[in-house]
């Protein structure tokens, strides 16, 4: 008990320090501008906030549309118990992406201009619209949790009836903007290093988003099970692990085919910083988890599955930072490393995500199966009982 209390205080202190330094950096950012708070320059206009907060943030929230499609479109209802926390993660992820964008934009007060000033030729315009619409869709997908809490049956019924079109819209919007984040870089063929620049950037972004979205579902389940002392849906997570294997195999095959088409294989052996970073991304983020998770024993073991998911997430983050930072440095002839304020604000945003998630999980029926009679499965009543019998009281931290 005492030890538990100590560890609790430790994390609270860490979170406190992060938020305090983040708030100070926020003050500098909004009073003295981007030049005073970041290491960005005319040579390197996009840094950590675009590379991590936006590119990774949106990708890591991809579990939302993937699992929603599995449950509601492919109608595999046994995944429903982990859908709500996933939708919550995705919704928070998107809200935080928008918050991060307000830090990064030079004129954040004019962010709404994208609504009325259209430029359909701009990838950024399309991403802006998709993110706006999809955040709304996610809010609606998550709304039953809030409506249940306050027993608002009529709006609940309306939302439930809208489920199928909402989910389809969500999948379409996600497909568009997950891939379009890759399309952003199609305009810089002479700037982005050849290991990463390919006309298939949007496809790679999409496929890797699905695999990392699945990895995030696993990660989020593990963290929740630790934090809220609830059981792990190992059988479901193992199956998610299998989806990851398929997606990683598809991604690796496409990447190899693309390198071969562009005759870029020799680049893999050049003794350059970019080469090492590329190998890191492929080795840690694709090959290692692909091998690990292909082994049934590893997949069915909670530590093995967790390790595999963690590798996928690390590899994904390295990939996005490679494209946004590593791959642009040689051309820009500058080396970019974020300022402490850029890092502090990023950490603050991530910490806020964790705090809001745990608050929502504490006060809202997030880990409760939506009580929809239609959702009752034809088979597996026993599993349902098993699920309900698992100790799942939420301990107040």
């Amino acid at each position: 008990m005492k030890r538990k209390l100590q560890s609790l205080t430790f994390w609270k202190i860490v979170a406190g320090i992060i938020i305090a330094s983040g708030l100070y950096a926020t003050y500098i950012r909004f009073t003295q501008g981007l030049g005073a708070s970041t290491h960005l320059s005319d040579q390197f206009p996009w840094g950590l906030w675009i590379g991590f907060d936006i590119l990774c943030g949106v990708g890591l929230a991809a579990g939302g549309f993937t699992l929603a499609a599995i449950v509601h479109i492919f109608n595999i209802k046994r995944f429903e118990p982990i859908l709500r926390p996933t939708i919550l993660t995705a919704f928070l992820g998107y809200v935080l992406v928008i918050v991060a964008l307000l830090f990064d934009l030079g004129r954040p007060l004019q962010i709404w201009h994208a609504i009325i000033m259209w430029n359909p030729h701009s990838v950024m315009f399309e991403v802006a619209w998709c993110v706006m619409l999809y955040t709304t869709v996610l809010a609606l997908e998550f709304s039953p949790v809030v409506l249940e809490k306050f027993n608002l049956t009529r709006p609940l019924k309306i939302i439930k009836r809208m489920t199928a079109p909402l989910i389809i819209l969500g999948v379409l919007l996600s497909t568009l903007h997950q891939s379009s984040l890759g399309s952003l870089y199609l305009i810089v063929p002479e700037k982005l290093y050849a290991l990463w620049y390919t006309p298939y950037l949007p496809v790679f972004f999409y496929v890797s988003a699905i695999s990392v979205g699945c990895a995030m579902v696993i990660m989020e389940s593990f963290l929740s099970s630790k934090a809220f002392k609830k059981g792990l849906e190992m059988n479901l997570l193992t199956e998610i692990g299998r989806i990851i294997v398929v997606m990683l195999a598809v991604l690796l095959t496409m990447k190899l085919m693309d390198l071969s088409n562009r005759e870029a294989f020799p680049l893999l052996l050049l003794p350059r910083w970019e080469t090492y970073m590329y190998w890191l991304e492929i080795g840690v983020g694709i090959i290692a988890p692909l091998v690990l998770l292909s082994i049934p024993k590893v997949r069915q073991n909670s530590t093995g599955l967790f390790a595999g998911a963690l590798l996928v997430i690390i590899g994904f983050v390295v990939n996005r930072l490679n494209i946004s930072i590593t791959g642009m440095e040689a051309w820009a002839k500058v080396s970019y490393f974020p300022s402490w304020m850029e890092i502090a604000i990023t950490l603050m945003i991530v910490t806020t995500g964790f705090v809001v998630f745990s608050l929502a999980a504490r006060y809202l029926p997030v880990f409760k199966h939506g009580a929809d009679p239609k959702a009752a499965r034809p088979h597996g009543f026993e599993e349902e009982l098993l699920y309900l019998s698992q100790s799942r009281h939420v301990e107040v931290v």
């Binding site: 109608n75 199928a164 389809i168 379009s180």
Partner: protein, 258 residues
Amino acid sequence: MKSQRALLIDTTLCIGCNACQDACKAQNHLPVGEEKKLTATAYTALEEHDGVFVRRMCQHCVTPTCASVCPVGAFTKTPEGPVLYDESKCIGCRYCIQACPFQVPKYEWSNNYPRIQKCRFCAERLAQGLPTACAEACPTGATTFGDRDDLIREAHKRIAAEPGKYIDKIYGVQEVGGTSILYLSSVPFEQLGFTTKLENMVMPMYTWNALSKIPSVVSVGGVFLYGIWWITNRRTEVQRLERSLENLDKKNTNHNDN
């Protein structure tokens, strides 16, 4: 159609007097002082490469990359030639800085409400029928102002007249689909810090190839997803119906047994 306005910059005639930058700064009310690079306070700058002076400025592309990437359409290519930036629209995403193939747009990093800064091709002067301030100030004729087609003809004439002096290339005719600023040189352009890989690459086409697929992704994807949903949902419904029928049968048999 009236042809576009353009500048022909003959680097062999430039003596590096900096009159163009001085005139530009006066015209655009920018802080006075010689600058050797394009910055937020220098719309044009003289670079020196092994004794050759090269004027840098916005190329005013025929199909501008900045105008295509800007999410709120803050850049416009006017029919006369200038590519203009409207700060009242700008949200500050800096995609234009990232995307410009000539590294032209510069940002007011120290400003808390920053603008993009770049050459405006003296649009107001052009509207009055005047040449740009830099062309008017140039004492040697290194920068000349005129119709784009006329200037291309003039450049060809100069190359033909002195083939030993010039290399046989006009930079800006083909680059990124053509620009309104044309250059002549006596040494290969890559030695003057020019990107020479951009010939015939109309940059906006790279992203448009992806963007133009959106309608088909949405329509095919939508139909596909709806179809799957319809099939899987129907299957569940049929199964439920069958089970309730079974239960009904069981009930009936039980009833009959009793």
